[in-house]
Chain length 234, copies 2
DNA sequence: ACAAAAGTGTTGAGAGTACACCCATGC
DNA sequence: GCATGGGTGTACTCTCAACACTTTTGT
């Protein structure tokens, strides 16, 4: 901040809001886009579903707090995480003023080890299209995250974050179709994704499944993440 | 947040960070993109320049705090304001833990009434390309805001927010050229901006200046703000 | 040989880009 | 009448979008 503090400033005399991080964790499960929710135990909103979160400790960064909350619920580290928006309506928590910095994360289905988190909450994966009522303003947060995810999918390559390390082009296309909610043309999709030069062939082919085995690809670590958008102005 | 609080939860026993809002205020002045800075009076970073900001009061929303900080420095209300990002590195303020929610604002040059704010800080407009050293992590915040502004200019119509209510197409094009840092083709620019149907003619023509008087336009209030981007995936 | 999924090219339409001259006004 | 900035159209290129058949494997 940049407002000068009074000379006799005592940090503890100010009414300070609490600060939390909340995290919308997406995964593709059974051909649906799902969100990880936890069941609240205590008031307010006891027995309601909510997205995972945590208080921000006094000496940790926001990112560290988000990663910690993610690890506590999923046992995962090294997943794609991005700050979403900060929600700070004065009455969003009925107990006291709580400002929350929302994040979203994309985790591959095969990396999830259920119950491997440290917390003992009841957890569940819910389809984005069939969410239960959520505590606080979490419905708004999830909606915002979903909008952002669809938007990012159109001009970046974050889609890979929802798939295993190696995958087929059909799997990748299906992931895009699920999230965008529409069918895509196979030939156009392949041409576009390959010409972006963000994939490399593993040389291996898929072993199981019917039909012709598909070539397996992996994301090129050295690929540029952002793909240029068409410019509105020439 | 969604982590359950202990049954004997006492909000005042937690170490709470302070929360501020800081605001990057852009305007086009003398054919340059400039940022409003204020000179700090007290330690830390005394006598250094910083972007305006304020503590978030316990009963006001983040947006209200940002708008209040903006009004205090510029005397302006009803300007374009958008939340940017939340910065929360533990050591970004040497005094105590301060998390800041950064905003950016676009104000038309002709609306600024210098010294009309309530605060008594020394203030100044600085070209984005010649910023002095800034207090805290404010250089990072301004860089982030500038990147976001250029990016938004390419797929939305926020550029109008930096111009008076009525303006000529040449003025609008010049604004885009200054922010994007490159020359644009006059015919292509006009075709594109007019075909977007976000402008309407006022019927009036510019009175002063040399040469043929230019038609004055205004932004259509009913126009959709977001312009569709080309999709990466078909 | 047949079922199942993988893989592959071409064409027409629309948008982007590059480019040069005439028009209205003040002095 | 000339200097100054405003305003206009066209041709080429490139990307997007629509569309159907052949190939490889397992049974």
């Amino acid at each position: 901040m940049s407002v000068d503090l009074p000379a006799n400033y005592d940090p503890n005399k100010f009414d300070r809001p609490s600060v939390t991080v909340d995290i919308v964790i997406f995964s593709l499960i059974e051909d649906e886009l799902k969100v990880l929710l936890i069941k609240r135990q205590a008031a307010p909103f006891a027995d309601m579903w909510a997205i995972p979160g945590s208080f921000v400790k006094i000496a940790e960064s926001l990112e560290e707090a988000a990663v910690r909350a993610l690890a506590d619920e999923t046992g995962l580290e090294d997943v794609y995480t991005e700050q979403l928006y900060t929600f700070g309506a004065p009455d969003r928590d009925p107990r006291t003023r709580v400002i929350t910095v929302a994040y979203f994360a994309l985790v591959p289905h095969d990396a999830i080890h259920p119950q491997s988190g440290r917390d003992t909450h009841e957890t569940g994966w819910f389809s984005i299209s069939q969410l239960p009522p959520l505590a606080f303003d979490h419905t708004e947060i999830v909606d915002y995250a979903y909008t952002r995810l669809r938007y990012k999918l159109e001009y970046t390559s974050v889609g890979f974050q929802l798939l295993p390390d190696v995958f087929t082009l059909t799997e990748l296309q299906t992931a895009y179709e699920i999230i965008l909610g529409e069918k895509l043309d196979k030939r156009n999709f392949r041409r576009k994704i390959l010409s972006a030069e963000i994939l490399e062939e593993t040389g291996e082919k898929q072993k199981e499944g019917e039909g012709r085995p598909a070539m397996l690809y992996r994301y090129r670590e050295d690929a540029v993440a952002e793909v240029k958008t068409r410019r509105l102005f020439p």
